[in-house]
């Protein structure tokens, strides 16, 4: 990290673990969980959010001195909506099948609370370069959780990763299936995502006791 000073590096590294947007700040759960049944969709979603958040943070940070504070929410919404339209059109042009799977959830990046949260909390008070790093870091923290959830749900639910049959073929009973292993259909249904995230939170908080909430 010779390129970045220690402070700048922390902007990226903090949100990955101890200040993770999903498990600690409780932001941006909305548009995320429904698409994590496959790893591929999770990765695409993570990259899209990273693009929108990093670019949006830079734009808002550049305009922070000229945005009247009364209408800042609308200005922020317009900036995000524009960036999301770009993402949506790119996905439709180059990955049409995937954009069908993601359906309305690409549009819902607009109301992803991570984005508004970072604009309000960081980009409005810091310079463009720092905001860019902050956006990158927070989107990466969000992406990590998405990828972890997607990994377990696809592996346990369908026995595949990125669509490759890593555990053998369930129909012709090869690989792990030949000794009686069965896919857990439970992991594919939407509520399983919530339970997986709950378990991730559990693991993280048992490792780092200072994060435990006072009930």
């Amino acid at each position: 990290m010779a390129l970045l000073s220690k402070k700048d590096a922390n902007l990226i590294l903090d949100p990955l673990a101890d200040n993770n947007p999903i498990t600690i700040q409780v932001l941006g759960i909305c548009s995320a969980l429904a698409i994590t049944a496959e790893l591929k969709a999770s990765v695409v979603m993570a990259v899209s959010v990273m693009f929108v958040l990093a670019m949006g943070n830079v734009v808002i940070s550049l305009m922070r001195n000229i945005i009247p504070s009364k209408i800042r929410i609308i200005v922020q919404l317009v900036v995000v909506a524009t960036l999301v339209i770009i993402v949506d059109q790119v996905l439709k042009a180059f990955a049409y099948e995937l954009s069908k799977t993601l359906s309305v959830f690409v549009g819902l990046i607009i109301t992803n609370c991570i984005i508004m949260g970072r604009f309000e909390a960081f980009a409005l008070g810091n310079g463009p370069w720092k905001s860019f790093l902050d956006g990158l870091g927070n989107a990466a923290g969000y992406g990590i959780i998405l990828v972890i959830v997607g990994f377990f749900r696809e592996l346990l639910g369908s026995g595949t990763l990125f669509g490759f049959k890593v555990l053998g073929d369930p129909v012709t009973k090869t690989g792990l299936y030949s000794i009686g292993y069965e896919n857990n259909g439970f992991m594919i249904i939407p509520p399983a995502a919530l339970i997986v995230v709950g378990i991730i939170i559990w693991v993280q908080r048992s490792r780092n006791r200072s994060l435990i909430e006072e009930a």
Binding site: C30, A81, G107, C113, P190, L194, S206, I212
Partner: protein, 247 residues
């Protein structure tokens, strides 16, 4: 009439905003600590969804859809502005929320006091934008159904937040493992409630129609069956291909 009823129950129970598509999770988790605040936010969501979904339906129908501009004249029939829908929908929502807030404050201060603080929160609630986007994606055919869809998804969301708030008030007296306290246990409870709601999936399939949202096991089975079928078909194809070659 029957389609109205069907859509109504479907949006509340089967396609529940929280349990089936995870919309509005942020405020759902943040504002569900007390039943009274949860009721306030839920009511505001029903109200705003009921206003914005029909409005956005009109926008979609007469401005955004492929060929929607044809009422301006036949030369506009080729325009497809649907790529603008995100920005227009969110602008409508943000403006409507502001407007509703001003109107309610003016005419009904008591309603404003109970609902008012939640209104600004709602502009960035995914359930609201999600309602409009699903309305567009599912191609709801007329204004009445759009209104119905908005209100009933709102009711579904209201039920969800009411239920979790009640559970969270009770769970305070239970001995939850320390790392799960607060957020973790809420996630897991929501997941369990979601599994419960999955059982409503067969509710509207009284006739001989195939179930619209089959449970996980049936999908897995159907998938396997499909794959086997496909393989069989492939075999048939190769067989017939060989026959053709032999001839």
């Amino acid at each position: 009439m029957i389609e109205h009823l069907e859509l109504f129950f479907k949006s509340i129970f089967i396609d529940n905003m929280v349990f089936a598509v995870f919309l509005g999770m942020c405020s759902y988790l943040a504002v569900s600590k007390k039943v009274s605040t949860a009721v306030g936010l839920g009511a505001a969501v029903i109200f705003v969804l009921g206003v914005t979904v029909p409005l956005n339906w009109l926008l979609d129908q007469y401005l955004l859809k492929d060929g929607a501009l044809v009422w301006l004249g036949p030369e506009y029939a080729d325009y497809n502005l649907s790529f603008l829908s995100f920005i227009l929908f969110i602008a409508t929502i943000a403006t409507m929320v502001q407007l509703v807030e001003i109107v309610v404050e003016k005419f009904s201060p008591s309603l404003y006091n109970s609902l008012g603080i939640f209104l600004p929160l709602i502009a960035v609630n995914c359930a609201i934008l999600g309602g409009s986007l699903f309305m567009q994606a599912r191609e709801i055919p007329n204004l009445g159904l759009a209104l119905n869809y908005g209100v009933s998804s709102g009711i579904g969301w209201f039920l969800a937040i009411l239920a979790i708030a009640a559970i969270r008030e009770k769970i305070r007296y239970s001995n939850v493992p320390a790392p799960l306290r607060g957020l973790g246990i809420t996630f897991i409870i929501t997941g369990l409630m979601g599994i419960g709601f999955q059982s409503f999936g067969g509710m509207l399939t009284g006739d001989n129609e195939p179930p619209e949202e089959p449970t996980a096991t049936t999908t897995a089975k159907a998938k396997e069956e499909k794959e086997i079928k496909k393989e069989l078909e492939d075999e048939e194809k190769t067989v017939s291909y060989n026959e053709v070659i032999n001839k």
